[in-house]
């Protein structure tokens, strides 16, 4: 029995896997280049454009994660500095946070769907799954905005205590990233619609996917450190 990728059904072949950078990314048009894209490792000469863009964007995302880690560290230091004001236990609503989490995780799933759809160059399903991703992201943002306004109205705004300052900063920073992501998403939908699946558009979709999933990873950390641990303080 053969174990090579040729033995698998067409749509399971590894060379249409959008997360497999570099070698074997399929025919021209799947992000540019031929069958054996150079990866830039070792002595093989410059990498293909797709590898360069994907790798570079990952490095940027790592820097973004470092920035978040500084805010997480600040929050860890200030989590108990309530200055006589309300603590996480008084303020957080676990069911709303669970709903926010569900929206965001679901949007990551639909974002993955859009990657599959764009890798087979299906305009309709790419647009539909991107649109659903955007709607889920907007629902998440709406819930977060509701939480923020409610807290500020009950006198638990960022000026109340160092704990609330760091809470609004780290959660708000994530919210700003989601907002920027939504702007990017809308731009990408327009670009895919007007320009189709050109190699450079495919590369941008790859970067957008990486970005959106990273926001999910950060939210998981945020959910744990800010909300779950904060609930116990």
């Amino acid at each position: 029995m053969s174990t090579s990728s040729e033995a698998l059904p067409q749509r399971h072949r590894r060379d249409i896997d959008p997360y497999r950078l570099g070698r074997g990314y399929g025919a021209p048009g799947y992000g540019g280049g031929g069958r054996d894209l150079p990866t830039g490792r070792g002595e093989g000469g410059p990498a293909s454009k797709r590898v360069i863009v994907g790798f570079g964007f990952w490095v940027f995302l790592l820097s973004d994660i470092v920035m978040f880690s500084a805010f997480f560290a600040a929050h860890a230091v200030l989590q108990t500095a309530t200055a006589g004001g309300p603590s996480g236990r008084d303020l957080f609503d676990p069911s709303r946070v669970a709903l926010e989490t569900a929206f965001l995780l679901a949007s990551s799933f639909t974002c993955g769907m859009s990657a599959v759809a764009s890798s087979v160059r299906n305009q309709l399903w790419t647009q539909v799954s991107l649109l659903v991703t955007g709607i889920l992201g907007a629902c998440f943002l709406a819930l977060e905005a509701y939480e923020f306004t409610q807290m500020i109205h009950t006198g638990a705004g960022p000026e109340t205590s160092a704990f609330l300052s760091s809470f609004f900063a780290v959660v708000g920073l994530h919210g700003c990233h989601v907002t920027a992501g939504l702007l990017w998403l809308g731009t990408m939908m327009a670009q895919v619609f007007v320009k189709g699946f050109r190699p450079n558009i495919q590369r941008r979709l790859l970067c957008f996917n990486l970005f959106w999933h990273t926001l999910d990873i950060i939210w998981v950390a945020l959910f744990t450190i800010v909300y779950l641990i904060g609930e116990g303080r």
Partner: protein, 670 residues
Amino acid sequence: MLGKLTWDAIPWSQPIPLVAGGVVLLALLAVIAWVIVRGYLPYLWRDWITSVDHKRIGVMYILLGVVMLLRGFIDALMMRSQQAIAFNAPGYLPPEHYNQIFSAHGTIMIFFAAMPIVIGLMNFVVPLQLGVRDVAFPTLNSTSFWLTATGALLVNVSLVVGEFARTGWLPYPPLSETQYLPGVGVDYYLWSLQISGVGTLLTGVNFVTTILKIRAPGMGYFRMTIFCWTALASSLLIVAAFPVLTATLGMLLLDRYLDFHFFTNTAGGNMMMFVNLIWVWGHPEVYILVLPAFGVFSEIFSTFSGKPLFGYRSMVMATLFICVVSFMVWLHHFFTMGAGADVNAAFGIATSVIAVGTGVKVYNWIFTMYGGRIRFATPMLWAMGFIVTFVIGGMTGVLLAVPPADFMLHNSLFLVAHFHNVIIGGVLFAGFAALTYWFPKAFGFRLHEGWGKAAFWLGLIGFYVTFIPLYAAGLQGMTRRLQHYDVAAWRPWMLVAVLGVLILLAGAVCQVAQLVVSILHRDELRDEIGDPWNGRSLEWATSSPPPPFNFAVLPNVHGEEPYWEIKRRAIESAHLTPEPEYEDIEMPRNSPTGVITAFFATMTGFAAIWHIWWMVVLGIVAAYVVFVWFAWRDVDEYVIPAAEVARLDRERRGARQAWLDAHARAEEPA
């Protein structure tokens, strides 16, 4: 309508900043008028401002760095002269002005002089040494440069519109909070660093990607030059450290603008957290600057000793060791915080250990010279001056790493002397050495040796005469940043130091004279073949200045020092390798994205400093529009036809073959 901005923002009553600002403004207007009248504007726009060529961006970075170096040096002259006369006297600089000067001096020297020079060198040299045509993201590279320039512009605007921070180069709270400094000084500092910090971060991302993903065929990691290795380490540090700076300054901005309580001394804020966070960035920053400097010296020692670098692999290991350990020593900047003996001991030991990596490097450089045929050209003089100076600075650093000693010397002039010792002796000497070394590659002619050597000797002697007295005054208890003092024992040292800074001024004059004289005599100093120093790495394989595409055909690398091997073969056979098949070359097209982004960044930053909110919104919206407009561009490359590539490369080959023939004739026994 204009937020806090009124006519009172201009310091009408303070003659020094007013006159200085007026002169700078007039000079700037004169330069712009001259450019327009002579019709250079289209050339500047096409070939420089919108260029995405890494070599031109590198040159612009270095130009920015050198101009800001002079600006920061003027601050230094003012501080040294103030301390020379302000013994039992007020001096000529009032305290609030003096405080702005030392804050601006530190900020400008680190962020807008040292960083642009180091990043400019990386830009110019790394793709050439890797044997490739450009960096990973050329347009992003141009944007990085223009964002850095934006930061520099905002700092200089603060000279005439408003004020600069009075906090020192790191705005420690609670002094930097609105409660104590409600003016715009700290805001100028914060916004200019936030904007230029984004530029630096993107440079880091760009160079990590370039070095790890774009190298000539055969250029494995252990065939890269040490300069490329140090550029990689420095870029990795940028990616890991600069986001922390952005986050920390962001928190301070939230404190100042939206009444948050990260670092206030009320409502549970924690001001020591600022000090911790800022040094988590700040200590790696030291190595971001000095590692590429080590790379420059590695190239120079090997070239001017006529030998391969001693201990190449240990050099790589030492670089990466420093890269990692640089994140484990930050607390030595504030042993006096009171973290306790155990914590202080751990950080003290880590600080002493990091010196081992540098020690390995120093021995490698010395052993590279040992047994070599040393040529005492200007770059080599700077390199040898560096070894002595940097070892002294390193020794005083290890001394400061001992917590009990640090308790005595903390915040004294001893500390000030120490970090000037390593930054001037390390980064600045490397900048001057690199400028002389790679200038012919960038412009096609060498710099004048006589003026270069004069600049070196005045720079070296001036450095010692300025800073050894500061060590002494520091040991006698003189703290830093004193606007006036009344201890007679410190006075003589201040008088010697002002003499030293005048020698440094003479050195600076020689540097400028060197540039002017070299430009006037450029025909005699012409570098015809592109290899003026008998170099060993790939940048010397192409012509001077290199064509836009750097290499007509990407070189095939078979070992360390690839160009030395090519040259040796060519000399042995008295012939170049056969002419390659030339092909069309695709190069990235020019783009005004960078300069337009910087325009809106300047506008947004200035508006945020003065609380002009409509302009902030306008700037952000406009930036997004530019982003989408750029994303809609379809053609982002142009083609250089094979015939043009062939013509340029045949010119280069002709010059080299002529040299080979002359060389063969000279070697022939008579």
